[in-house]
Subunit: 200 residues, 2 copies
DNA sequence: GTCTATAGCTGGATAGAC
DNA sequence: GTCTATCCAGCTATAGAC
């Protein structure tokens, strides 16, 4: 490696480091005050710098949100890629549901960014959106393997899961009033799905 | 009625009229652009007046939102107070669920105002909140009459209903992809609730 | 790359003339 | 009660010195 190349990569490393610092500060802000609390002034202040410096690393506020969305989507894909404990497809579906709920609850701001399209003026770029759909597709396959074929039942499943998570976040944040009902929810869903399968 | 008294009530009527016009314009705005789109400047413009005039009728923006919340909560209570068609408690529960979904879908902004605590800095006054809890309590009784005693199952029910409505609003607004699953959802819930009842 | 300073806009809320 | 004009705060984003 030439001296010039070393210099280049060193600078690049420094640059990535500064970007990472800003992103870390941004995550901190949204975790404390919700997605709406992300302001570039305060972000700069928290990172120990000023707004023009932020613009040296990101071309706009939405560019920051886009990277955050990407990071969140990749965490989601990674969580879903972990192998589940051995067991029947039904047991694995339960484990999957619990893992999904944990992922959402453990970082509410990330959940809102990924799953609630609630930021006026922001929508993720296709590149940032890709890992999210990848993860959702893998979840779909897991549900199919548990014996759920009817796409209507798949919609029912997503409504049930997001309903539990939303209620938990909205009405008992930090508690477990709805999350602890996941066992019941999965049992209820599988029983109905099986009965429909045999009936229809 | 004396001449003075007539004058007073006439003025009062005019005043209530102006208030109602402003509120109508406010509902129009949030229906078009979401709750966040409510700004006093634009509200005044739409009502054909100016901001100081708005402040002649409401002491703050939150005061407007509070009245809107109250109106929405009263509509909700009124919807829930309508008698349901004759039938078994289970049939009535289904009808109740459909009515709830219709209420939510028919005015998304109102739904967000009432059921999603998503406006930073606003929370309804106790007086405006009262009709909402009244309506929710009547819903709870209806569910109990359908044979659902376990409070855990009641939480499961709310998660299921709000989950369906949220998915419908977020991912298929104007369509019926999730709403049409209400029959299945209610059947699923009742089957599970009954089986638990006999088992436990 | 990093700063100071500021442009340009939108928001809620008010002062004061009429 | 209704207006014009304005205050003050917050925001994203940029110009220009260093």
């Amino acid at each position: 490696m030439s001296k010039v190349e070393a210099e280049l990569t060193w600078r690049e490393a420094r640059r990535q480091n500064a970007r990472a610092d800003l992103l870390a500060a941004a995550w901190e802000m949204v975790r404390e005050g919700g997605l709406g609390a992300l302001s570039l002034r305060k972000l700069a202040g928290r990172a120990g710098t000023t707004t023009p410096t932020v613009y040296a690393y990101f071309e706009s506020k939405n560019a920051i949100l886009d990277v955050m969305f990407r990071e969140g989507a990749e965490s989601f894909a990674q969580s879903n890629a972990q192998p589940l404990a051995e067991g029947t497809p039904q047991q694995q579906l339960l484990a999957h549901a619990q893992r999904f709920a944990s992922f959402c609850i453990s970082d509410v701001a990330r959940y809102q960014l990924l799953f609630q399209h609630s930021l006026p003026g922001f929508s993720p770029s296709p590149e940032s959106y890709a890992p999210a759909v990848r993860a959702l597709e893998s979840a779909r396959q897991l549900i199919e393997r548990a014996g759920v074929r009817d796409p209507r039942h798949l919609d029912l499943w997503t409504a049930l899961m997001t309903g539990l998570v939303d209620q938990q976040i909205s009405n008992d944040r930090g508690g477990d009033r709805w999350i602890r009902l996941i066992d019941d929810a999965v049992a209820m869903f599988l029983a109905y799905s099986a009965s429909e399968q045999s009936a229809g």
